[in-house]
Every structure is written in C-alpha cells, then in structure tokens.
C-alpha cells in the first residue's frame, strides 16, 4: 500500500484547525484583561472576572443551548423571547397565583423544552428553514408574555428574594451567585454530552453533512428535535436565572439576547455552518462579551452602546477568521 496516498494533506493544521479559533479567543481574553488591568485601577482582580460571570450567567446558559443548535447547522432565534416568557411565567405563577417556587421551576423548564421540541419537530417534519420557524417562535413567545401582562411583575416572594441575594463565598474573599454555579454545571454537562455521548457525536455529524448522517443510518430527525428542545430548556433555565437577577418578570426582558447568544457562540469558535465548535469556546465568548461591558463601564465616559459597536467589530473579525479556516479545512 502506497503511503503517500494515505497521508493527510496537512497534518499540523488539520489537527489544530478546529482548536485555532478557540485559542484566538482565549488570547483575546487574556489581552483584554491585561489591557484593562494596566489601564484601570482595581481592574486586576479575580472578582472582576467573577462579576462578569455573575452578570452573564444567564447568557452563558442560553448560549450553551444555542451552541447545540448551531453545531447542527441550525439557528434558534426564539431564545430571547423564551427567556422573557420564562421570567414572566415564573413571576406570574409565584406572585399572582401563589405557586411555590419549587413547583413553578419545573413548569417553566417544561414549557421551554416543550416549545423547543415543538419547533424542532416542525423544522424536521415539514423541512422548513430553522430561521423561519424560530422567528415565528420568537414572535409567539414575546406575544405570550403580553398575554400574561403588559406590565412588569415584581417578585417579592421570600424564597425567591432569599435565593437572589445568596452569595456563595469562595476562598480569598471572592464570591459568586448561585446562578454562576448553575451555569458552570450546565457547561460541564453540555461538554460531556457533546463529546462523550452518542447523541453529542450525532449533533456534530448532522452539522458535518446532514444527508450523509442520514445515509449512515443516524437518527437525524430525533437528534434535530432534541437540539431544539435542549435550546428551549437552556433558555427557560436562563430565564429563571435572569428572574433571580432582576427579581421581576417583564415582556421586555432579554430583547435581542438571541443575537448575543449567537455572537458568543461565533466568537467562541463555532461555525455557523455547523459541525465545528466547542461549548467551552462559547463560555469564552460569553466572557469576552462581558469583559467588553466591564471595560467600558470602567472607562466611564463612553456610552454603553459602545459595547455593541465593539461586539459588532469582533464578530466581523471572527467571521472572517472562520472563512479563512473554513477554506483551509477543505481537503481539496
């Protein structure tokens, strides 16, 4: 057997092509943190990083769900609405119907997962673009919030407020919110599922080539429905975390969060065409987004809209990078 034929075309870049965006993001993160530390007094502390997680824990959970969908080559625009609906539903159930929080939480999670599964089923069964189906879901979710109430509902339930104010102390005088712990647990679970279960590998296969996955006898339909259910579940959980963070339910919470989630996944190195990316990258992406906000608030004079401008610029750069990697990933 001739060995020249069976040699991969470019061994080094091949091994590391998928990891490269991840390394770029990690480098960027370190650079941003260093620049912030040099520029601003009090920036260089672990608590600044932990605060980024405290302020963005819900986004991390939502973005993890989004990563599942994007890895299959799909997209879920409904997550922002689903987050808002979850805050609204929780506040309504607990505040206005007197349901104990322990009962409201499973109801909300079930609604999220069910809604996601329904969209996944429509996408699969009728072969409709995920963009359109989840766009419909986005309008529907936001509309349902207003059905419950057009006003913001404040949460005064004692259990809820107690959890919201809880701080988990870490050694060295550092602290995080329970939301951060939950988000990190979700991250670990997502990592194990994506890299070490048959379902996770099918998600990657689906993103690599859907018709191939079907011909290889993989359960394409079931997997598709499942990723949208995962995304729905994650947005519902993200919504619960946001409820504790805001202590209110409101139809205008999390407007545009779907786009932040997509941006976090892309900056974290997940290809929008599917099949390539890491959920750990998404966590780095969320941290980058949070750190931009932190730097701008430390800077003090810039309007918060500068956050958007920087995110926009970063997205451009990362999409261009993906294009370049995408080109070199091809075997031809």
């Amino acid at each position: 057997m001739s060995t020249t034929l069976t040699k991969p075309l470019h061994r080094f870049s091949a091994r590391h092509a998928a990891h490269l965006p991840l390394m770029v993001t990690a480098t960027l993160l370190v650079a941003m943190f260093s620049i912030g530390s040099v520029q601003y007094e009090g920036f260089f502390s672990a608590q600044v990083l932990l605060n980024v997680l405290i302020d963005n824990g819900f986004l991390l959970v939502v973005a993890i769900g989004m990563t599942f969908v994007v890895l299959t080559g799909g997209i879920d625009l409904s997550v922002g609405s689903m987050v808002a609906l979850s805050t609204m539903l929780t506040a309504w159930l607990v505040e206005q119907n007197g349901l104990p929080l322990a009962l409201a939480v499973p109801v909300v999670l079930l609604v999220g997962a069910g809604g996601g599964a329904l969209m996944g089923w429509v996408i699969h069964a009728f072969e409709i673009q995920p963009f359109i189906v989840t766009l419909a879901g986005m309008f529907l979710g936001r509309g349902l919030c207003y059905m419950i109430s057009t006003e913001s509902i404040s949460l005064t339930d004692p259990t809820t407020t107690r959890i919201a104010q809880t701080r988990v102390l870490l050694p060295g005088g550092l602290f995080v919110s329970p939301a951060v712990i939950i988000a990190l647990v979700v991250l670990a679970l997502a990592f194990v599922v994506l890299h070490h279960t048959r379902f996770g590998r099918t998600v990657y296969a689906l993103g690599g080539n859907e018709s191939s996955a079907r011909l290889m006898g993989l359960p394409v339909g079931r997997t598709k429905v499942a990723v949208y259910a995962v995304s729905g579940l994650c947005s519902a959980l993200g919504g619960l975390l946001l409820t504790f963070y805001m202590l209110s339910g409101y139809a205008l919470h999390a407007v545009g969060m779907e786009l932040d989630a997509i941006a976090a996944a892309v900056i974290g190195g997940t290809l929008l065409t599917g099949g390539s990316g890491f959920v750990l990258g998404t966590a780095l992406g969320v941290t980058v987004l949070g750190l931009i906000q932190t730097i701008i608030s430390f800077q003090g004079t810039l309007s918060s809209w500068w956050t958007r401008i920087v995110i926009g610029g970063l997205l451009f750069v990362f999409i261009l990078l993906q294009r370049l990697f995408g080109g070199s990933r091809q075997a031809e």
Binding site: A14, A205, S211
Partner: protein, 519 residues
C-alpha cells in the same frame, strides 16, 4: 496475484442477493422492466449500461430507496421488502456512492463507527473506538491515522473509509456506485486492491462504472441493462470490450436505416483539408473532464464526436466554447492564439453551442418562438440597440419557414412545441448570429425521426455553405452519415480521429470505443 475464482453462469450455490422481475415506473417513464440480477458470495459483478439504461434505478431498488412496482428481492433466499435504506443495511446490503457520504468534520474512526460506537457507562469509549477503527483499517491493509479528521484526507482515501464503514456493518453485499469517477489511476488501483481483498473474504460486490477497462480488470461477471430491460448476464471471459459495447448499445444502430439516405457526402477529401483550419486545438485539456487532445476543424467541415456517454464528448466541446476553462494546451482560431474565458468570448469568435440540455440551458418556455429566436441577436447587439418589432417579425417568419418550425406561428409559446421543434428554435437562434463554428451536442436526442432528418439535412447544407460543424451524437449511424471525420472518445481521451471514407463502419467506431485502437 491470486487467480480470482471464476464463477460459472450455471452455479449451483445459492446467490446471496437475487432480484427477479424488477419493474419500476416513474410518471411517464418505464425505468425498469422485468430486470433480474444475481450476486454470488465472493464475486465482483459489474452492472453495465448506458445512461438511462436503468442502473441507478436498479441500485435504488436494491438499497431500499425506491420500492419496486413489481418483482422480488431476496437476500440469502429470504424475500425482502425494504422501505428505507436502513432496512437494506440491516439485511446486509451496503452502498458506497460516487460522492463520499461521510462527515468530513469527524475523525476517521468516528466515520467508520458512528452509530455503533463502543460505550462504557453510556459514554463513548474513545480508546476502544480508536482501537477498533485502527484494527479494521489494518485488517484491510490501509495505513491511516484514525484520529485525524476525515476531511484532511484526499477524496480517494475518504472513499476507502466509506468502504471500510460499509464493510464493518457486516455487509454481505457491497454496492459500489461509480466509486472511481473522481479518482486518478493510482487511487483506483488502491481501491481495487481493497475490493479484491473483500471479494476474497466472501463479500459479493456489485460494481457500477463507465470505464470498460476497469470492468475487465476487476470483475468476474457482468449484467448488462439496456433501456430498462435486462440485456443479459455474462461471464467476463465470454466477452470482449467490443462485444460488451455491442450489448450495451444494442440494436439502436439500425434505427436510422429506415431514413432516406439524405446527404452522406462520403468524400475522402474533406473540405478545406488543404487550407488553414478555422480552429485548431493542441493539447487542450481539463483535469477531470478530458485529457489533452488535438483537433483541427476547417470551414465547411463536419466533425463527428463519438463515444459512450460520460466519455468526455461534451467536456471536450465545452472547452471549445469557453463554457469550461482549459487548464492545459492552446487554442488557435484563424491561426491566432485565442483564450476563451467565457462563452461570450467564444461567441465573439463566431462560435455557437447548442447544448444537449435544451430545456435547462437554452430556451425560455414562457416566451414565444419569435422572442426566443431573437434573444441571442439582441444580446449580441446590446440592450441599447433594440431590434425593431418589424425586423423581429421578419426574422422569425424567415427562420420558421427555413427550418420548418411547426406550428408555423412565431407567436406560439415555445413550451407548447414538440422537442424537435424546440431544438429548431434553438438552432435558429444560434444560426441568426451567423456562426463560423456550430457545436451541436446531441441535437437529435429525444426528437422524432422526421425532425431528426431535417436537422441532419440542415447540418449538411450549413457545411456546404462553409460553416464548420462539431456534431456530437450517441447514434453512430447519424455521426457516420453527416461527418467528414469522426473523433472517438474513450475514458475522457480522444483515442482516434478517423476519416469518414467508405471503409468506416459503425463496427469500426465501436471497436475504437471499446479498445482505444485506431484500426
């Protein structure tokens, strides 16, 4: 090399796969009509036939993509009715398609084993997965790093990995659907080594290809289909390339004998053979399309291109029209070097190309005959100089009459015309631009005999007026009747250019197609 076991047609052992009386009808088309196929363990069996003979449909029936309308498929003697590809796989029939159906983003190991990964406590057991994949790879004497993403290997290797996956599903029958069409010679050899190894292990392999020499190189028996019917099942040593091509092409050769002898010039001294050629190609080539070829076309000369479908006829012609870019060789027009970057450039050199796919690439069904005819002329003039309506009417009326387009109504919508008349409209459009070289790719396919004769007449009279014509057709009689010289293509190579003197017969052309020899 070990002597391959040669199964005899009168084998007494039981076929592992047997299809009997398969019939499949698509709306308006009888794709398969009473086709039988038998595959025995440990044989490589070729499925041959021209395009449209029903090979793909038969494979789709065997693999559960299409259920048959009549007939039975049995595996190991038990009747099977596959509703989907997965069921065929479970019954032991695996298929490797022309395009690699794997996931380039996953590792080689995952591609081989995904869906059947070894697991421990519900989680993928990666080390066992890599070990098992590596063992399968070495068993088949391949040398790959199973941890590398599949996409980093060449297409040929991906094809091999697809076979490894197919075989690991405990395949009894392996169907290879044109696996070699995008591979080069060394890669094909590598693939064949693997196929032989699998055959020796007792797998029955059904091999579909356009390449004749590969059939004689690899296969033990052949089933030939023609027009959706079973032509026959043969041992490969009963056939020669010539007889095999005869079986595939069949009696179609006689169809046009009924036509009136129109205008076969039969001249040995083709027009302008002494003059400088209108167009001359030297070493013109395109990777994956056609190997380097030389061709001169003189004014007033009709050159026929013969060869099986997929032999590179169309590809050779497309290079002359700038529809594909040549990646080697040079082209001279009127003795001057010309680089055709696009069809527009070719049109500027007065070259016209009537494609074989008139519906998709030429005519606009919703427009009238008149509008379709003036389209190219208008495009050539530019939109700032519209062709006046009176002039349009004149042109349309003239060409409707000259080409006898029916109905003789320039305002009829083109989609309501018969295929032959549509072809004439397309011809009129190109003739209006007054081409010096007219390339006709299968101009008479799928049209009735009457229209066929008229188009043939037209080609002859155009040539008599000095137009050079490159005429591509699957019908050898037609090529012979019209051409001054006949170029024969085989496996993407122009193997011969034969002067059409009195000694040239369809059999001689077939001989050239089959063997590549020029005698």
């Amino acid at each position: 090399m070990a002597v391959p076991p040669t199964p005899t047609p009168t084998r007494t052992d039981r076929p592992v796969l047997e299809a009997q009386g398969i019939r499949k009808v698509f709306p308006g088309v009888l794709a398969l009509d009473g086709v039988d196929l038998r595959l025995f363990p440990g044989e490589v069996h070729a499925l041959m036939g021209e395009n449209g003979a029903g090979k793909s449909t038969l494979i789709k029936v065997l693999t559960g993509v299409h259920p048959p309308d009549a007939g039975t498929v049995s595996v190991d003697g038990g009747f099977q009715r596959f509703a989907e590809p997965l069921e065929a796989q479970h019954a032991g029939i695996s298929t490797v398609y022309q395009e690699v159906n794997l996931c380039p983003n996953l590792s080689v190991a995952e591609n081989i084993l995904i869906g059947r990964e070894p697991r421990r406590l519900g989680l993928v057991h990666w080390s066992a997965l890599h070990e098992r994949a590596a063992r399968l790879i070495t068993e088949l004497e391949l040398d790959l790093d199973v941890r590398m993403p599949l996409g980093t290997y060449s297409l040929a290797v991906q094809q091999l990995v697809a076979i490894v996956r197919a075989v690991d599903v405990k395949a009894k029958v392996l169907i290879l659907d044109e696996p070699t069409s995008s591979l080069d010679r060394d890669e094909v050899a590598q693939l064949f080594t693997l196929v032989r190894r699998l055959r020796d292990r007792g797998v029955a392999i059904l091999f579909v290809t356009h390449f004749l020499d590969q059939v004689f190189d690899l296969c033990d028996r052949v089933t030939v289909l023609r027009n959706g019917r079973l032509e026959g099942e043969y041992r490969i040593d009963e056939l020669t390339p010539v007889t095999l091509v005869h079986r595939m092409v069949g009696s179609e050769l006689g169809i046009l004998d009924e036509l009136a002898e129109t205008s076969h010039t039969g001249t040995t001294d083709g027009p302008g053979s002494g003059d400088a050629p209108f167009l001359s190609a030297r070493g013109l080539a395109r990777a994956g399309g056609v190997q380097p070829y030389d061709l001169d076309i003189h004014r007033g000369e009709v050159i026929g291109l013969a060869g099986l479908l997929g032999s590179g006829r169309t590809e050779a012609a497309r290079l002359l029209f700038g529809a594909d870019h040549a990646d080697g060789g040079e082209l001279r027009i009127h003795g001057k070097r010309a680089v055709l970057r696009s069809p527009r450039a070719a049109i500027a050199h007065k070259i016209a190309f009537c494609s074989e796919n008139r519906k998709a690439e030429g005519l606009i069904g919703e427009l009238t005959v008149r509008e379709n005819i003036v389209l190219a002329l208008q495009a050539a003039r530019g939109w700032t100089k519209p062709v006046s309506r009176t002039r349009q009417d004149e042109i349309a009326a003239r060409w409707t009459e000259v080409l006898d387009i029916r109905p003789a109504d320039p305002e009829a919508e083109v989609r309501n015309l018969s295929g032959g008349n549509q072809q004439k409209v397309l011809l009129a459009r190109w003739l209006l631009t007054d081409p010096e070289l007219l390339i006709l790719d299968e101009p008479t396919r799928g049209i009735d005999i009457g229209a066929k004769t008229e188009i043939q007449k037209l080609v002859t009279s155009l040539a008599a007026e000095g137009t050079a014509v490159l005429f591509i057709s699957a019908e050898l009689e037609e090529v012979l009747r019209l051409s001054h010289r006949v170029g024969v293509l085989r496996d993407h190579r122009l193997v011969a250019t034969l002067p059409n003197d009195t000694t040239l017969t369809p059999d001689r052309i077939l001989g050239a197609i089959a063997t590549g020899a020029t005698s």
